[in-house]
Amino acid sequence: MSAINSKNERIFQFCWTAFFIIITCIAMVPILRVLAVSLSGKNAILAGKVFILPVDLTTEAYTRALQSGSFVNAFWYSIVLMLASTVINLLMTVLAAYPLSKKGLVGGKVIMTLFVLTMYLHPGVIPEYLNVRDFKMVDTVWALIIPGALSAYNMIIMCNAFKGIDEAIYDAAKIDGCSEARCLISVILPLVYPTLATLGLFYAVGRWNGISDVLYYINSSKYFTVQMVLKQFVESINVSVEEGLQTNLVAENIKAASIVISMLPMLIVYPFVQKFFTKGIMVGAVKG
């Protein structure tokens, strides 16, 4: 904008930059605090000396957390579960979205409407539970994969991405003798790669962070995800709050270390995929 260097403008820019830096720093405090506790010595924590930087730096809490068999098993199991369910989710999304993106497909509109309705008509937790039980999936790993195998919302985003591809590309592929399946795999999917990546990440994050379906459907601890095991760790503090005691069933720093380990996959992936996510939100937002 013009008159960019007026004094007022410079003061404005300076103050608001400072404001946003402060806000961002405040937003990072909770994460720094957990990191600090996880890396601090027990006595320093009990004495209330730890704020947002570690005191008596030690990685003991991490070694101890990683000695807990249930936690480590749950971690690797959750990674595998996350990858498997993301693949299934994406496959289902593409299988539904590609045919429905074709304008002339007979019956396509009806099927699309039926999918859209599922976004508004939720039967509720209990009917869904009874349904999963009908299929004998309660307390199996399938209960964590199948019921959420396809999100209508993500399917619509995928569908819009397919619609955004130039007709001429389809025609060219057809003339070269591609069948629909061939055309989808070798020509179209590489073109919608950013959307595919975004949705895959949405699905992966949802699976990694999900706790309610584990709580609803799973009884045996061998199918507990990392969030479920972490929940048990975290809740041991609530017991002590209730009794007004400081009897920590799980020591504070080990709890913090487990939280950090559970955040790790998201924290590692986040910087790389952040751009995709932003794009993904915009696609969804434009749709409204």
């Binding site: 209990i126 009917p127 349904n131 400081q246 487990s258």
Partner: protein, 305 residues
């Protein structure tokens, strides 16, 4: 003539059978896992017997609803749901709009990108993790109390006082969700026409005038859509957040419909009653979305339907 039509169908199918083949699995999935459970809501009108199953259990009309409407726990869950959601609306809704507008005024690309990236980060943390973080921050030995004590004050029981707990719930909601809304608004602002602001500037408008008369109207439709969606969800509440953030000492504030359905339905096994409560929530939710949409359309804005 008839033969011709048949031929056309044949050609159509020969060209498109692969598309229909692709659709088979998703459509079967949709029927079995989205529409079949919808039939299950009839449980709300029955006295559910595990051995008889959904269809052979006896009808009891509206008895489950009557019981819900006369139950103190139900009203308390409904009240808490509304209080927590309205608080989110008042505290959480305007904040990202404010951030987006002023972030958009900044010239430094670096500050804009970094703020966006870091504020969006908590969105990727589960409520289990966040509830763990909450104890690290607000418990008696948490960061905030460490600070209060270090400054010579008395420690405050943030997590066992229902009144204060609500604010913790709302603040963590802002922390987790503001980054997402911020990006939505910034995207809307980027799509908007920047030359309008420049024109206003040349015409001598002050910054506040520009924000009020140019920037805000440019994102008003995005604001409206998000507002309708949030009002439509006033009776709906996610399960993870209140369930994970609540504790036994603040049950009178943290018991909401979703956790109530879970505890009477899945934990205590009263499937019929819990289904009725859930159905009530869904129906009121749909009515609210339509109502909010209608009001906003009356006010001359574009709705979502």
């Amino acid at each position: 003539m008839k033969k011709d039509k048949k031929g056309k169908v044949k050609v159509y199918l020969r060209n498109n059978w692969q598309l229909y083949l692709m659709l088979i699995i998703p459509v079967i999935y949709m029927i079995l896992f989205k529409y079949k459970p919808m039939l299950g809501v009839v449980v709300a009108f029955k006295k559910f017997n595990v051995f008889k199953g959904i269809w052979n259990s006896p009808w009891i009309g509206l008895a489950n609803f009557q019981e819900a409407f006369t139950s103190k726990d139900f009203w308390s869950a409904l009240k808490n749901t509304l209080v927590l959601n309205i608080g989110d609306l008042i505290i959480g809704f305007p904040f990202p709009i404010f951030l987006a507008i002023f972030l958009n005024e900044l010239r430094s690309e670096g500050v804009r990108k970094t703020t966006q990236t870091l504020l969006y980060l908590p969105n990727f943390l589960s409520w289990v993790i966040i509830s763990g973080i909450v104890t690290q921050l607000f418990s008696n030995s948490g960061l905030v109390n460490n600070l209060i004590v270090a400054l010579g004050g008395e420690s405050v029981s943030f997590l066992s006082n229902s009144f204060i707990w609500r604010f913790v719930y709302w603040i963590m909601g802002v922390w987790q969700g503001a980054g997402y809304s911020l990006i939505v608004y910034l995207a809307a602002l980027m799509a908007a026409d920047a030359s309008l602001g420049e024109a206003a500037y040349i015409d001598g408008a002050t910054r506040l005038q520009r924000i009020w008369h140019v920037t805000l109207p440019q994102i008003s439709s995005t604001i409206t859509v998000l507002l309708i969606m949030q009002i439509g969800r006033l009776v709906n509440i996610s399960f993870d957040r209140p369930y994970m953030m609540g504790n036994t000492l603040v049950r009178d504030a943290s018991d909401v419909i979703s956790t109530y359905v879970y505890s009477v339905g899945l934990a205590a096994g009263r499937f019929d009653f819990a289904t009725a409560v859930g159905l009530f929530q869904t129906v009121v939710g749909i009515v609210l979305v339509f109502a909010a949409n209608a009001v906003i359309k009356k006010m001359g804005q574009e709705g979502i339907m």
